[in-house]
């Protein structure tokens, strides 16, 4: 009787500790900048460039993010007409570092989560979520994505953050590559 009770207690404590540790386990850096760019440009990493934001860009960023974009320039990489962007956006309280690759046809080729710093919502890094963005474009630069993205239960804010960054990357691709 006692042995069974002790066994049940140990299992219960084990489950609680496992669930608690999942948050810390899921936080961290998943992909380095180099690895992301290697994937995006098949191992030949182009030189970094910066796109300086003008007043119109800042207004568009405000419309997309619903807050002022923190920074006057955005770093990107370009080979021919394909671009890769790395942008931080806050999910709930801490920034998520999100990488987006945009094709010459102005469609998203891939979305990757490079770093996640919050304890909840890390499921957005799974391919099951990020592959929904492949081939997605914007109706027009800065507007909503032309395809509906399914959410992830318990990761609503992270999902919204990734969608905002995807929109911003599509806008920046159009704006920063069109007048080179």
């Amino acid at each position: 009787m006692y042995r069974r009770l002790i066994f049940t207690c140990v299992i219960a404590v084990g489950i609680v500790l496992h669930v608690l540790s999942l948050g810390a386990w899921a936080k961290g850096e998943y992909l380095s900048q180099t690895a992301f760019l290697d994937q995006a440009f098949a191992g030949i990493q182009p030189a970094a460039r910066v796109c300086w934001l003008n007043d119109r860009d800042k207004e568009t960023a405000l419309d997309i993010f619903s807050h002022r974009y923190a920074g006057l320039r955005v770093r990107y990489w370009q080979a021919k007409e394909k671009t890769a962007w790395i942008v931080d956006e806050i999910g709930k309280t801490r920034p998520i570092t999100i990488g987006v690759v945009v094709t010459p046809e102005r469609k998203i080729e891939r979305v990757r989560i490079l770093a996640f710093r919050e304890s909840r919502g890390w499921e957005v890094r799974y391919p099951a979520f990020t592959r929904q963005f492949v081939g997605v474009s914007a109706v027009s630069p800065g507007t909503e994505l032309d395809t509906s993205i399914d959410g992830v239960t318990g990761a609503t804010l992270s999902v919204k953050a990734v969608k905002r960054v995807a929109r911003f990357a599509l806008y920046l691709h159009e704006r920063c590559t069109s007048d080179i």
Binding site: T34, A48, R49, V50, W52, R73, I180
Partner: protein
């Protein structure tokens, strides 16, 4: 005693709003020292030309103006973008727009932040944005051809970058001599800036609600306090479970 402590703090926490415990600020020097919030009389600053940078907790200050928070301890600050030819040679049209004014590079141990001289954020770079490691020192040097380079000493070596900070290159340590490299080092803040930062600090404190929460969770004793509360909670579960079993057994015996 432990149960009493949990019960009293739990009871008070249930009524923080009604009794305004979340608005009562405790600023006893002993308590602030316990929380590591005592005023840092010897707070160092870093100067980038005529601009002073300092850190209070995680917040960065440019002069007396609060800029933003940064990850890690402040390691240095340098002013960039003088008339070095490297800036003028940039072929990227978008990069050239950045040449309009000089900028200040600020290094905390986990990120590099670029701001304009009036404090507007240009960009922040952590490891995911290509920062090569944990920053130990920040500096700059001017090459023989007049080109200016930003120097970054990290745990894996010394790197340099052009003033637009688009790419880092690992360089041999012997290429950096004390004659050409100017490393940013901590120095005493001017009295008027120190006074402003200290004034801001003095206005802070701990709310009574925070103290109660930390006592209730054990966090007031640090991580070991949390483990202690965890252990006690585990013991309560065991005591309650064994109590139920004993009660059920005694009931069964009475039936017989």
């Amino acid at each position: 005693m432990f149960v009493l402590l949990l019960a009293v703090t739990g009871f008070l926490l249930n009524h923080t709003s009604e009794w305004s415990l979340d608005a009562r600020i405790l600023s006893s020097p002993m308590l602030l020292r316990w929380y590591g919030l005592e005023s840092d009389a010897d707070r160092p600053g870093f100067s980038a030309d005529d601009i002073w940078l300092a850190q209070v907790d995680s917040d960065l200050y440019m002069g007396a103006k609060q800029l933003l928070s940064c990850y890690g301890d402040l390691r240095g600050a340098v002013s960039l973008g003088s008339d070095g030819p490297q800036m003028r040679q940039s072929s990227d049209k978008h990069s050239q727009q950045g040449n309009r004014e000089r900028q200040v590079a600020i290094a905390c141990s986990e990120e590099l932040i670029l701001v304009s001289r009036d404090g507007a954020l240009l960009e922040r770079m952590g490891a995911p944005q290509g920062l090569p490691g944990n920053v130990e020192r920040l500096g700059k040097m001017t090459l023989e051809d007049g080109a200016e380079k930003l120097l970054l000493a990290v745990d894996t070596g010394i790197y340099w970058a052009d003033p637009d900070v688009l790419a880092w290159t690992l360089i041999p340590a012997d290429k950096i001599t004390s004659k050409v490299a100017q490393w940013s080092g901590p120095t005493t803040l001017p009295e008027e800036i120190h006074a402003v930062l200290s004034r801001g600090e003095a206005e802070r404190g701990i709310t009574l609600e925070r103290l109660l929460l930390d006592i209730h969770s054990g966090r007031v004793l640090g991580i070991w306090g949390v483990y202690l509360v965890d252990l006690m909670a585990f013991l309560f579960v065991v005591v309650a479970s064994t109590g139920i079993v004993m009660w059920l057994r005694s009931g069964a015996r009475e039936h017989r």
